[in-house]
Structures are given as C-alpha cells and as structure tokens.
Amino acid sequence: MTMSDELGINKTLFDRATKILGRTLDYRVENQRVIAGNIANIDTPGYRPKKLEFDEELRRAVEKEQIHLRKTDGKHLPGLQQSGMQGEQSFLLKTEPGSTGGDRSLDIDAEMAKMAKNNLLYEATVKMLSKKFDLLREAIEGRR
C-alpha cells in the first residue's frame, strides 16, 4: 500500500469526477493508438478496421447517477464502485464486421475525422482534469 492509500487520499480527496476523467483519459490515449493502426493499414488487403468501445457500464452509471444526484448527496455513490473503476480494466476492442459488397470498408476520411475528434476530446479531458486539480490546490493553499 502506498502512502497515499494509507492516508486515504484516493478515497477522500479525489472525487468521483476526477476518477471518471482519469478513466476517460486512458480511453482517449488507447483510442488514438487503435485509430492510428487503422490508418496505417489503409492499403492492407483484407484488413478490418478496429474500434475501441468506452466502458458502457460506466456511461450508464453516470447517466443514472446524474438524475439521482439532483436529490441526494453527491459523495454517496455505491453504484459506480462496481463498474470497474477500482481496477485496471482494458477497454473492449471490436473489429468491425465486413461490409457486403463494399470494396473499401476503411474510409480514410472517416478515420482521420475520428482521430481529430479523439484528439479534441483528449485535450478537453486533460484540461478538465487539470482544472479540478487547480481547484483542489487552491482550496488547500487558500491563503493569498
């Protein structure tokens, strides 16, 4: 157990949103690699493009919690713990099924667009996470 575990910092100091953002960041980084792989194999015969799925459980849990949260205290969230936020789980990698009659199932423009979007969302997640840490630091340092 690391020192921060013993102090209970991970449980108390870093709230749920921080954890979700961290997980999302993992996803974005992994997704970038998958998309780059697709693009690299543009001309490979018989290559099927791959797609990385986000934690469906996590997404559903967040959607449910948001409605629930409006009424209850924000820190009490039993549902989320079971959706694998504790452990290191890899995301689901899916291979797209072959399209019938299509000569090229790998649309270079679509893949480039996916990369642009993923990059954008990565930037957004990084900035949000950084913002949360800033707020934390501000609360701790406080005196100006």
Partner: protein, 146 residues
Amino acid sequence: MGLMKAIDIATSGMTAQRARVNVISMNLANANTTRTADGKPYRRKTVVFETNAIPESFDEAMKNAESGQEIYGVKVTGIVPVSGEFKKVFDPSHPDADKQGYVYLPNVNLVQEMVSLLNANRGYEANAASVRTAKEMALRALDLFR
C-alpha cells in the same frame, strides 16, 4: 449538438467528394473505350448525392426530433450511367467499326470532366476546412480554462 457533429458532417462531405473523384477518374480513363463487357462503348457515369442523417446518440436524436431541426450530411447513393448519344466517328479501319465504318466513342467530354474534377477537389478542401474550423472552435472554448 456539439462540434463533434459538425466534424462528422464535414467528413461525410469529404467522403462523397472523394467518391466523385474516383468516378471522374474512371470516366477519364475510359474516355476512349469502345468496347465494354456488354459489347457497347463505355457510357459516362456520374455520382448521385443524397442528404444523409448522421448517426447520433439516442438522446440527441430525441432532442432533434422534438425541436424539428435536423441536420444532414451527404451520402453517395449511386453511381449511375448518363444517358446520351455516343459520339460517332467514321473510321472503317477500327476493329470495332460497324458495317458502315462508324465507330461509337464514349459520351465522355474531357473538358467537362476536368471541370468536375476541379469542383470535386474544391469541395473536398472546403469540407476539410470545415473540419479544421470545428476543431479550432472547440480548442478556443478549451482555452477559457486558463
């Protein structure tokens, strides 16, 4: 409906223009093809574009359906032959000449195809600019984070 959707829409535009370029290339390559698989000269082809609803999440689809605003991208729904007379050229020595000595050439007008090619290229670039702009706008919003 965020900027992500704008990127999807512009991307569909790029894909469509690329398909158009492919078809134009095919026309140009076969501008003098006097015999195809069915025995007749090559007939010029063109792409058919159609508005195409961009697949989106269920929540967004519900919201858009309520407000009545629907935003579309574009989709290639077909590559169809263009009707028209073949060009008739008198050349009895040609292996595909008919009994009167006329050869039928494809209804491909080189100048017209080249103009289409330029348009397709410009369309592609315009859509790429759309994507770039959407991305820039999102990054600007992120800059608010100090």
